[in-house]
Amino acid sequence: MIKIDKILNILLRLIDASKVTISLTIVAALLASVIAFISGILLLNRHKIIRFLVRTYVEIFRGTSLLVQLYWIYFVLPFFSVELPKFTAGVVAIALNYGAYSAEIVRAGFLSVPKEQIEAAKALNFTPSQKMRYIIFPQAIRIMLPGLGNQMIELIKGTALVSLIGLEDLTYSGVIMRTNDIADTFIIFILILVIYYAISSIFASGFKLLEKRANVGRA
C-alpha cells in the first residue's frame, strides 16, 4: 500500500527544502537576539524618552500579528521604494516580532538580579563593564534562558509563515509537492510535521543544555 522508498523519496526532498527553513531560523534568531538584548537593556534606560520609544516598538510588534507584519513588510514597503527579497523580508519580520517578545524576557532577567549583588560588585570595585560581564549577565541569563528557549521554538514555527509570501521553505515545498501528488497528502504533511518537530527539538535540547550550564551551583 504505502511504499517505503516512496516515503523515503518524499522525505529526502523535504529535508532538502528544510535548508531554507533552517537558515531562515538561524539568521532570524541571531538578529532577534541582538534586537532583544538591545531593546531589553534600553527598556531599563534612565531616560524616559528612550524607554518610551523602545516600549512603543515592543508593544506594536507584540500587539499586531506576525503575518500582518510580514505582509506589511513584503507588500507595503515597496510602495515606499523599499523592496526586500522574500528571504530578507522574512528575516526582518520574524526578527522584529520575536525580538519584541524576547526584549521583555531580557528586561525581566536583568531586573531579577538582586541589587545586593550589584552592591557587592561595587564593594569589590569592578568597573561597570566587568560588573555586567562577571556578575550581572551570568545571573540574568539564567533567568532568561527558559523564556528565550520557548521563544526559540515559537520562532521556528513562525518561519513557516514565509511560505505565504512565496519563499520556498519546507512548508512551501510541501504544499507544492502535495498539489503534484494529491494521493500522498497525508504522508507529506506528516513528514513536514516530523521535520519541524525534529528541528524544534534540537533547539529545545540545546537550550536545555545551556540552562543546565547556567544553573551550576544552584539547588
Binding site: T64, Y71, K157, A160, T171, A204
Partner: protein, 221 residues
C-alpha cells in the same frame, strides 16, 4: 500616499470580515480551554501509556507550526470523508494548537494548590469528581486567569493564519481588496491597527488582573 477616501471605502468591508476573526478567536479559545483540560487529565492519568502518550502528543503539537496543522486538517480530513467548512477546520486547528499551551497553564494552576487541600478532601471522603469540582479546580483556576487571558490574545493574533486555508477573515479580506486595487498600504495598516486596538488594551487588562490577583494571596499570608 495615504488615501483617506480609500480608507473609508474599505473600512466597512474590513470590519465585517473582522467578525469572522472574532468568531474564530472565541470558538477556538473555547475549544482550546476544554481540550486543554482533557490533556491535563490525560497527562495525570495513573496508567502509564496514557499519560506518556498524552505528553508526547502535546509536545508534538506544541513544537510544530500551526500553519502546517491547519493544512494537514484542511487537506487530509476530506480523504477520511470528513468534510467541514474552512472556518470550522480553522477553529479546530486553533483550538487544538492552543489546547497544548492551556494544558500547561492548568497544570501550573493545579500544582499550585497545596497538597493539604487534597488531604482535606480525602478526609471528608469526597469522590474524585467532588474533589476536583469542589476543591481543586475552584482554587486552581482563578490564579491562572491572567495566563489564560494572555493565550486568548495570542490566539487572536494567530487567526490571520486561517487565510492560508481560504477563510476570509480580516487579513485575507485585506489582501483581496489590496490586490483588487493594487493598494496595500491602507488595508494592511488598518488590519494592523485593528489587531492592536484589541490586543493592546486586553494585555493591559491582563497585567492589571495579574497584579490584582497577586495581592489577595499576599494578604492571606
Amino acid at each position: 500616499m495615504w488615501s483617506w477616501s480609500f480608507t473609508f471605502k474599505v473600512l466597512p468591508k474590513l470590519l465585517s470580515a473582522a467578525k469572522i476573526t472574532f468568531i474564530a478567536t472565541i470558538l477556538g479559545f473555547l475549544l482550546a480551554s476544554i481540550l486543554g483540560l482533557v490533556w491535563t487529565f490525560l497527562k495525570r492519568a495513573k496508567i502509564h501509556w496514557i499519560s506518556s502518550s498524552a505528553t508526547a502528543i502535546v509536545e508534538f503539537i506544541r513544537r510544530t507550526p500551526l500553519l502546517i496543522q491547519l493544512f494537514f486538517l484542511y487537506y487530509t480530513l476530506p480523504s477520511f470523508n470528513i468534510r467541514l467548512p474552512a472556518l470550522t477546520v480553522g477553529i479546530i486547528g486553533l483550538g487544538l494548537h492552543y489546547s497544548t499551551y492551556l494544558s500547561e497553564v492548568y497544570r501550573a494552576g493545579i500544582e499550585a494548590v497545596e497538597k493539604e487541600q487534597w488531604e482535606a478532601a480525602k478526609s471528608l471522603n469526597f469522590t474524585p469528581y467532588q474533589t476536583w469540582t469542589l476543591v481543586i479546580l475552584p482554587q486552581a483556576i482563578p490564579p491562572i486567569i491572567p495566563m489564560m487571558g494572555n493565550y486568548l490574545i495570542t490566539l487572536f493574533k494567530e487567526t490571520p493564519l486561517l487565510a492560508a486555508i481560504s477563510v476570509v477573515e480580516l487579513l485575507q479580506q485585506a489582501k483581496i481588496i489590496g490586490s483588487e486595487y493594487f493598494q496595500y498600504l491602507e488595508v494592511f495598516t488598518l488590519v494592523g491597527i485593528i489587531f492592536f486596538i484589541f490586543s493592546y488594551p486586553s494585555s493591559l487588562l491582563v497585567q492589571y488582573l495579574e497584579i490584582k490577583l497577586k495581592n489577595p494571596a499576599e494578604k492571606r499570608m
